[in-house]
């Protein structure tokens, strides 16, 4: 019954996507003849149309895929991830994402959802670390990788909850502080830092609006939308992938998944977004 419902919903979702694609083309043509204020309005209308019917979100397919991957015995050890502790106890998923990143004593470090899932895939299932970090993100048109699908499932299981990561442990405080420093740290041939594009309200690159992540109010609105389905690249993009892509645009090298930097930036962003509602996977242009 549940499976059938999901399948019907998926077909309906795919039809919706085609409809939205048509609207996008029409909007792109219309956009050319408009002033910037009208343009921004048109883009916003497009976003609202994408949001109107939650079942039109293709990212939900990866939530289902992630759930299946979580429950299936996999890896050299042929076990599922059902004993993976995301912070609330082994196998407890509901609400876990709302309290990540957090300090894990067994790993003696702060981890976000993706880094923790990777840790479980290595320790429980026996996957090789080097393999997991080698090509961790999909190219345009390719579906999110397995780890990302699991992360999308995990995030989705905190939907409706508010970000409430604990900051009691010294290493949790330290991760947020490092993330904040990195947010303002300029580097590379373009002199860019995160704050270059995310430090002022209402700005955009070309026609793409930019969230003002230095402001908690705006961070609370957008951070909970990740992982998100991106219409332009037709796949789910996780937060680690989003950061990797930002550094790519900043003309920096390839950011390692699960690195101290990517976890610290996530800790900072989630702390900025404290109290913001989780609604994953979100939908992005």
């Amino acid at each position: 019954m549940g499976g059938q419902f999901t399948e019907e919903a998926s077909v309906k979702g795919v039809l919706k996507i085609f409809a939205i694609g048509g609207v996008t083309l029409a909007l792109s043509a219309a956009v050319l003849a408009q002033s910037d204020e009208e343009t921004e309005k048109a883009v916003e209308k497009y976003r609202q149309m994408l949001k109107q019917d939650p079942w039109s979100n293709p990212g939900l397919l990866d939530v289902d895929r992630g759930e299946e991957l979580w429950k299936t015995p996999r890896g050299p050890n042929k076990v599922s991830l059902e004993k993976c502790d995301l912070g609330l106890g082994a196998g407890k998923i509901e609400g876990a994402y709302a309290q990540l990143p957090r300090y894990f004593a067994d790993a003696d470090r702060v981890m976000d959802a993706e880094t923790r899932i990777m840790w479980c895939m290595e320790k429980l299932q026996g996957f090789n670390h080097a393999d997991l970090i080698k090509r961790p993100y999909p190219g345009g048109g390719q579906p999110v990788k397995e780890l990302g699908a699991i992360a999308t499932f995990v995030a989705n299981k905190s939907n409706g909850q508010r970000f409430a990561a604990k900051t009691d442990h010294a290493k949790e405080k330290d991760a947020i502080a490092l993330g904040e420093t990195l947010f303002y740290r300029r580097s590379g041939p373009f002199d860019f830092a995160c704050v270059t594009c995310h430090g002022t309200e209402g700005q955009r690159i070309r026609l793409q609006g930019l969230p003002h992540l230095a402001a908690p109010k705006e961070a609370a609105k957008v951070v909970g939308e990740w992982p998100a389905y991106r219409v332009s690249s037709t796949h789910v993009m996780t937060l680690q992938h989003r950061l990797y892509d930002c550094y790519w645009q900043m003309r920096m090298p390839e950011l390692e998944m699960g690195s101290e930097v990517s976890v610290a930036l996530t800790a900072f962003l989630v702390n900025q977004a404290k109290g913001g509602e989780i609604n994953a996977p979100g939908l992005k242009r």
Partner: protein
Amino acid sequence: MHLTSIVIAVATATLTATAALAQQPAVDPARADAAIKAAFPTAPADWQPRLVPDTTMRECSASRNNPSKALAGEIQKRDQGAIEYPADGNFMGDWKKGEALAQSGYGLRFTDYPPRTVNGGNCYACHQLTKAEVSYGTIGPSLLGYGKLREFKAADVKAAYEKIYDSQAAFACSNMPRFGTNKVLTIEQIKDLVALLMSPDSPVNK
């Protein structure tokens, strides 16, 4: 009289405290440097310099792009010293080539090697420049009518060259890349962008 002095003193103290708080880096920059080095393990040797900010970037990061007046003066003076000028003293190239450069965001990303074309300036990502191009960003100010507004003066032609070559020579801790100093664009390319801004024939000034 006394009250005024007290109010001023309190206000000054508050401002100083706020400034100190805002300029206090959250962690030791050396620790951030080490974390960055570890986070990009596949970066080849010739990419290592990208991980290390120069003095100007360090000062801007530490002050969160809000340097004191004295520091701003130091940054601008240092960056003015970095500017290389065209050998023949001519700052204006071809505005048509400049328009193509303004449209292109190509170059220096890890997917851009080996290079398939020249680096772009990607000006439209942040600036409005011409009436025809409505897909422009708003991180930088609108440059529509740039030359016309300056009556195409020779001094402004030179100033435009300097701002593109090294934005921080004019505005310390500007968000804009230092295209010449950081070797993103060549002198010839910067001249083409100057022409886009300052030529009376350019669509920027139509």
